[in-house]
């Protein structure tokens, strides 16, 4: 007995062994939904061990998809349907499933051995522990092999097709068309007709099984979302960052140079940039993090748009070199895809605990610009913006993203590059336009205090520069006490003046009220959704999401002071809160979580509500 219901949104999590192809299955489900007109957000959750022993909890790899008929900002709080390919996947993910949610289990994998590996004394399918959920038991492995018995592939390959069988089941449950996936399979395996046949057969067999199974009570349709018209594509944060940098270099008419060392979760930026040599991108995989940034500094000295990418531990190693870039007053983009810390911490889990490090983490008075991306598709604009500021102000810029938005994917309205993300003026001098007799590399622009960018190869302008303090006029080494003080103020002033070259801060909601939620970085989606929900209930709550963290837009103080209370939710122990309270003399409260997990919308709604109720 089946019936079709329409729902606003649904969250599905695919979970299995690292080798079960769950990332691919989730990606297919989200691509199909995006093409069908839903808004989506996704989040992969994979173990830090490449291939932990199969069947164990450490080896479970998951991929969560949130699809909706309205705009979707997060990969979702609670899971409506969990697809568990083995007992370990069930055990590792059960906590995320909402009460009376669906659980699809591959019963073929519930063998004694696998139960033991997942540390189940008794099968959870038999002991009543799942009675609050709606469990759909499917013989996914055996049915896949049965469906492929006519196909000329070996038994190992047949077994590998079981993820498409599971995908097929979910397609039926949520009324998805299989067109996009079939097209993808045909393209991906175009020279392997038997593999195409096998995967499509498995996909269709899964759909058939779901249709025929008596256990399914309802199927669900997620109607098309009302989203702005235009051309869309899916993008994850790291790819968007890479593309933003390519665009900035193209628009600044400069070669792009990346000096980097592999580190989770930032490495995909290196991978993506290494692919695009047709844009003249030079990528240099250095021997360590320090060499990564130092090679980038060298490239900036020589006239490239220079970039280095890393995560927390790597950022720590780059610290001294960042100070050098500040001292040299060079344009340099430093991307930190944040992960859980301290030390090696939680490499594959998200956190936003490197804000202090970004703003202050260097020896001496060493100010620089810090900006943060808010969601996967915002990484594009943020990377372009980081490069723009660096080039126009001759200053290093740290771009903070995090594991959550770097690996998360969502649809992106493809920008019209004929009108957006246009030319970037920079400070490299034009030899034709200067008077060599009066020119000096320390002569600053009045508005920005940026020095001109002189690079080796320019005749008659040879100069020497070091990390030693420089005379404010001549650039020569100087230990003069007053000069040092002037230079410290100058470097700070340069950062402050960036505030004249960034947009004013905007707000979601009224510009005064009972509670202001202040957020930054990857928590944007959950904060935005929670505030919207409370606004719809008539609460006097507004949301300020900061992209520019150092310096902040000029109107931030005014905004803060128009609210009775301020709350700052962060995935750290209160770093932005500390900065804001110190800077503006306000008494913002923090709401903090450091579990390596993003905020749930529901938890924020509750926290904000409590704050609104409190006297």
């Amino acid at each position: 007995m089946t019936s079709s219901n329409s729902i606003d949104s649904v969250v599905i999590r695919f979970a299995g062994d690292s080798g079960d192809g769950m990332q691919l299955t989730g990606t297919q489900f989200s691509n199909t939904s995006a093409v069908m007109g839903n808004d989506i957000a996704t989040f992969p959750d994979y173990p830090s061990e490449i291939r932990a022993p199969s069947g164990t909890i450490a080896g479970v790899s998951g991929f969560q998809v949130h699809i909706g008929a309205t705009e979707i900002f997060t990969p979702g709080d609670e899971v409506d349907m969990l697809v568990a390919m083995n007992p370990a996947a069930l055990k590792a993910n059960l906590h995320a499933v909402k009460p009376s949610g669906y659980i699809v289990v591959n019963i073929d994998a519930f063998t004694e051995k696998n139960l033991e590996k997942a540390k189940y004394a008794v099968s959870p399918l038999e002991d009543g522990s799942l009675q609050n959920y709606r469990v759909i038991q499917a013989p996914i492995t055996s049915q896949t092999i049965e469906a492929l018995k006519e196909v000329a592939v070996d038994s190992k390959t047949k077994d590998r097709c079981k993820n498409f069988y599971a995908l097929g089941m979910t397609y039926y449950f949520y009324s998805r068309s299989n067109d996009t996936t079939i097209k993808w399979i045909e393209q991906k395996f175009k020279n392997k007709p038997d593999i195409i046949k096998a995967n499509i057969a498995a996909l269709k067999a899964g759909e058939c099984f779901a249709e025929n199974t008596e256990t399914v009570i309802s199927t669900y349709t997620v109607p098309v979302a009302k989203i702005p018209t235009g051309d869309y594509r899916q993008i994850d944060g790291n790819t968007a960052t890479a593309w933003g940098l390519i665009r900035a270099a193209e628009m600044a008419k400069l070669p792009l140079f990346l000096g980097s060392y592999p580190i989770t979760p930032a490495t995909d930026i290196l991978h993506e940039l290494a692919k695009h040599k047709e844009f003249g991108v030079k990528t240099f995989q250095a021997e360590d993090e320090i060499a990564g940034i130092c090679s980038a500094i060298g490239a900036a000295c020589a006239g490239s748009l220079a970039v280095t990418t890393s995560s927390g531990p790597g950022m720590a190693l780059k610290t001294e070199a960042i100070g050098l870039a500040i001292s040299y007053e060079l344009p340099l983009v430093i991307v930190n895809v944040q992960r859980g810390g301290p030390s090696t911490g939680l490499p594959t889990k998200t956190e936003q605990s490197d804000l202090f490090q970004a703003i202050w983490g260097r020896n001496g008075e060493a100010p620089l610009v810090v900006i943060a991306a808010s969601r996967p598709n915002d990484c594009f604009a943020s990377a372009y913006e980081a490069a723009r500021i660096a080039l126009q102000h001759m200053i290093p810029v740290i771009l903070l993203t995090d594991g959550y938005i770097a690996n998360g994917a969502e649809p992106w309205k493809i920008p019209d590059v004929s009108t957006q993300f246009g030319p970037i003026q920079h400070r490299m001098i034009d030899l034709e336009k200067i008077d060599k007799a009066t020119f000096h590399y320390m002569n600053r622009d009045e508005k920005t205090l940026a020095r001109p960018w002189v690079v080796p190869g320019m005749p008659g302008l040879e100069f020497r520069m070091g990390g030693l303090e420089k005379d404010i006029k001549t650039g020569c080494v100087s230990t003069d006490p007053r000069n040092h003080e002037l230079m410290c103020h100058l470097r700070q002033k340069k950062v402050d003046l960036v505030a004249e070259n960034i947009p004013l801060q905007t707000l979601e909601g009224a510009d005064s009220g009972d509670l202001l939620v202040v957020s930054w970085g990857g928590t944007y989606g959950s904060c935005y959704m929670a505030v919207k929900k409370l606004q719809a209930e008539g609460k006097k709550i507004s949301h300020m999401h900061l992209k520019y963290l150092n310096p902040m837009p000029k109107n931030v103080e005014t905004i803060l002071k128009n609210f009775n209370k301020i709350i700052i939710p962060e995935l750290n122990l209160g770093q932005l809160k500390t900065v804001i309270n110190a800077k503006f003399g306000v008494k913002a409260k923090g709401y903090n979580k450091v579990q390596g997990l993003p905020f749930k919308i529901s938890e924020l709604v509750e926290v904000f509500n409590q704050e609104l109720i409190k006297e």
Binding site: V35, G37, T180, W184, P228, T229, G230, D231, Y232, R233, Q234, W243, I246, R247, E250, P255, F257, H276, K277, E278, F279, G280, K282, F284, A286, E287, D288, I290, A291, C294, S295, A296, I297, G298, A299, A300, C301, A302, G303, A306, A321, G323, L324, I414, V417, V455, P456, G457, M458, G460, L461, E462, F463, R464, M465, G466, G467, L468, C476, V477
Partner: protein, 335 residues
Amino acid sequence: MSEACYTRKDLCSDQEVKWCPGCGDYVILASLQQAIVNTGKKKEDIVCVSGIGCSSRLPYYMDTYGFHTIHGRAPSIASGVKLSNPNLSVWVITGDGDGLSIGGNHFIHAMRRNINMNVLLFNNQIYGLTKGQYSPTSEQGKVTKSSPYGSLDRTFRPGILALGSGCTFLAKALDSDPKGMTEVMTAADLHRGTSFIEVYQNCVIFNDKAHDHYANRATRADTTLMVEHGKPMIFGKEKNKGIRLNGLKLEVVELGDKYQESDLLVHDKHNEALAYMLVDASQPPHFPMVLGVLYQKELETYEFMMEEQLKTVKAKKGDGNFKELLYSGETWSVK
């Protein structure tokens, strides 16, 4: 690069040179300037990149582009400069502490990558700028302020390290021999690939005469051997000593009745095994300190291959089109 006509003076910056009186660094600076005069490269195309230490002040004194960087990192910054603009002539200026201790990792990777740049290592076997602690090239047992009972560290041999890391040009020189030093610097600058030059430099304050037993002008002819490609290995004030291969060992012999020139080894700078043996054997007074160009190998440079990859991809894919990139893969329209 067209040739420039400079005198050594044209390459002196307006900065007062501030090394200790009598420091070997003065000779190295002058020799470097002379080598650049010899190769005729234009000063706007020359970049000197240094780390931290006495040696690393050198870029301030050169009227070329110069970057005094951070401790140990000069090879990395220089790599970025050269990869960004392969037309530049890049010199890395480093010392035994800067290059082999804190910057050891960058040193070995620079050697293996073979980016066309020159690494000039001032080896004074001591930390000078921090006022006298033992360095990676100090002899074991050395008494310094940080090793009052003698250092326990064994000694690094820079030449062996460079060869083991895959360097394509190895030369050694003495600060007491500006002519010989200028020659190897000139040869290094003309070599395509990473050139490593180790200069034995005297620190008059903290390690005076550390190299004296072979670098002393009065006795040097008998304690050093300047090798030349294709020429027999002869040395000595009277040109009466030579090197011969005895089994798998190098041996010093007197020329005369027993051994003639024809018995001696002829230097082959392309022979890597010989280069190892020459560096290893250099232990005055038992064996002369071998100087000159010990090893050279023709190998494609990193930056050339990097540029070739870009060209190949562009030839295949065409120049990058950003709009096409945005629309690559799956896209859909919302109407």
